[in-house]
Amino acid sequence: MNYQEKITGALDDPKLQLAIYTATGRLAEGRRKAVVADVLPDYQELRQHAHDIKKHTLDHLDSYLVEFERNVVARGGQVIWANDATEACDFVRNLVRERAAKLVVKSKSMTTEEIHLNHRLESDGVEVVETDLGEYIIQLAGETPYHIIAPALHKTREQVAAVLDSPLDSTAEELTAKARAALRKKFLEADIGITGANFLVADSGAIVLVENEGNARLSSAAPRIHIAVAGIEKVIPRAQDLAVFLKLLARSATGQPLSVYTSLLAGPRREGEPDGPDEFYLLLLDNGRTRVLADREKRQSLYCIRCGACLNHCPVYRKIGGYSYPWVYSGPIGKILTPQFMGIEQDPWLPFASSLCGACGEVCPVKIDLPKILLDLRAEVVARRKNRSELRAFRIFSWIMRHPRAYARMGQLARIAARTAPGAAKMFGPLNAWLSQRDLPAMPERSFRELWRDRKSGDPAGKSGNKS
């Protein structure tokens, strides 16, 4: 299916439309209540501060990554630098083989989706179990995440019941209890736990896991081996910088002041400690991030802390849904990351699938200027692709708009044509596209400039244009 078919499919599904709109609406309303002025008076300052910390960190990413590695190793962990998806997956597959691991439990990690880790492990004969409830559901359904923080956002309770092989009138509590019971066994039997990491703290070598279900903590602590996979952009300089990000992340994502569990984990279990894995591996993933970093204007795309707020406020995402996007990251952040990771020629339509409403930039907790980047990407597409007929059209547009008399004449002719041959509009592609969804305005007899001339010459009918 090409993207147009996917979009039409999403638009033509009323159940899906309702599911997407209500779920994103609930998340957006949650965020609004959590950042409103009397609840979080320094929200705007926090956003700027978070932006500045990310900017500083990425401007010095090399030294912060080295510092982070040093501190992970000092705590008894190991850091693996993976240039791409293959290197990352190969490390995990080799470790699995070396340890004769049969069962892996995973917590939710969009980074592992990016590298298709589950698929690689499963084709090696390893059982991989997603332990986040939403991820568990879509894994059973054979699907991919629909939303950056809510993988099963598109599913109704009945659809979830069907996936879990439960009666269709099961309550949410019953379905969750069933999943929990099945997952509990897996946690305790797993050989390896794989998580992502929301933040990597350079000055302590700690990783931060932000979650609501406790499955990330359990995945990291119950199995003997813990592998955390994180993009290199997840680094922050110091533990106290977390104060800024933690005040923004959960509020922006769901409206919670803090998620239910926030864990700081540093290295494997040490002598005398009661909990923790025997071995800890931090898999640092590049996979195209340094290429994005090289662009000083667009590198802010890497500031993203994966809150999903931009998705919840995007009028386009709320209609076309997560599966209409070509990559694992959907919504506005997906629109700016995909061209930078995949190359702009891959999906040249993507930056144009936006009404430029700016809601994404308004709600981004780290103040990524998404609307500006979308405009820049559009200019890049045009510069690279040379759509001849479109270029001609805009050259004509520019010429007309620089020649007022020609512009006035064209306007006159267009208005006459519109009034004398309304059906002719269907001949023109763009007008036909307009008409497929809504009516055209009635074209006035006279333009403003014509009416103004009458007004100035004292014609009373020219006042307020009641002659048009």
Binding site: T8, L11, Q17, Y21, P315, V316, K319, I320, F352, A353, S354, S355, L356, C357, G358, A359, E362, L375, R378, A379, E380, V381, V382, A383, L391, F394, R395, F397, S398, I400, M401, R402, Y407, A414, R415, G429, P430, L431, A433, W434, S436, Q437, R438, D439, L440, P441, M443, P444, S447, F448, R449, E450, L451, W452, R455, G462, K463, S464, G465, S468
Partner: protein
């Protein structure tokens, strides 16, 4: 008495001329001296938003030539005002534009007017056009102006700040999505019980009106200028 140079915008000039006339009426009643520089055409936004920067630059240069020396440039559109006030700096590095005012902004922030002695009977709901709201930070000014119109009852829709789905060429390049967004918007409008929806952007109004007509609704659209010119 402030001398105001009006930039009516290409869409108002050619498709919604009454909006321009209404704005002129309100400004004249407020004591402004109005000039309409005939050489004006467009701000260049359609080309800029479509990625055609060179073509947009040509149109923008024409705009700047036409409005050379103007002290106040008043525009009945948030998106056109934002294009000139913010994005001309993307086309001309170092350029700074401080003369451009969206109409409601000009009334409240420059003329310090919130009551223009207008009257219009009816229940009105206000649509926050995206560029006005997010780029120019216009939220309260139009509402205060509407609240002072005699006979007018202002009600808020739940999706006031949600995009209408126009987005320029987006409305035809992604027509189905644009239409679906518009239908969500008009559902929200209908839930208010209002008989009129008002905005400060004619492009939004064209999108919303087109959707209302297609849905067979009786709700009408009016530009803020038309409401404020009503007596």
């Amino acid at each position: 008495m402030p001398r105001v140079s009006i930039f009516v915008t290409c869409i108002v000039d050619q498709v919604f001329p009454r909006v321009g006339m209404a704005m002129a009426d309100v400004l004249e009643r407020a004591g402004c001296e109005i000039e309409f520089r005939e050489e004006q055409t467009c701000c260049g936004q359609p080309a800029f938003n479509s990625g055609y920067r060179e073509e947009a630059r040509g149109v923008a240069r024409h705009f700047l030539d036409v409005f050379e020396g103007a002290e106040y440039i008043v525009v009945p559109s948030g998106s056109c005002a934002a294009m000139i006030a913010h994005h001309y700096a993307d086309l001309f590095p170092g350029h700074h534009e401080s003369r451009v005012w969206e109409f409601s902004q000009f009334l409240t922030a420059v003329l310090h007017l919130e009551d223009v002695d207008a009257s219009l009977d009816g229940t009105v709901t206000y649509h926050d056009s995206c560029h006005a709201l997010r780029e120019l930070k216009i939220k309260d000014a139009p509402r205060r102006l509407l609240q002072n119109v005699r006979g007018l009852r202002l009600v808020e829709m739940d999706a006031a700040e949600e995009c209408c789905g126009f987005g320029g060429t987006f409305s035809v390049k992604f027509a189905e999505v644009s239409g679906a967004i518009a239908r969500t918007k008009i559902d929200s409008i209908a839930r208010t019980g209002a008989d009129t929806v008002v905005s400060i952007d004619s492009s939004c109004l064209m999108q919303i009106d087109g959707a209302l007509r297609r849905a067979g609704s009786n709700i009408r659209t009016m530009h803020l200028a038309e409401v404020l010119a009503s007596r």
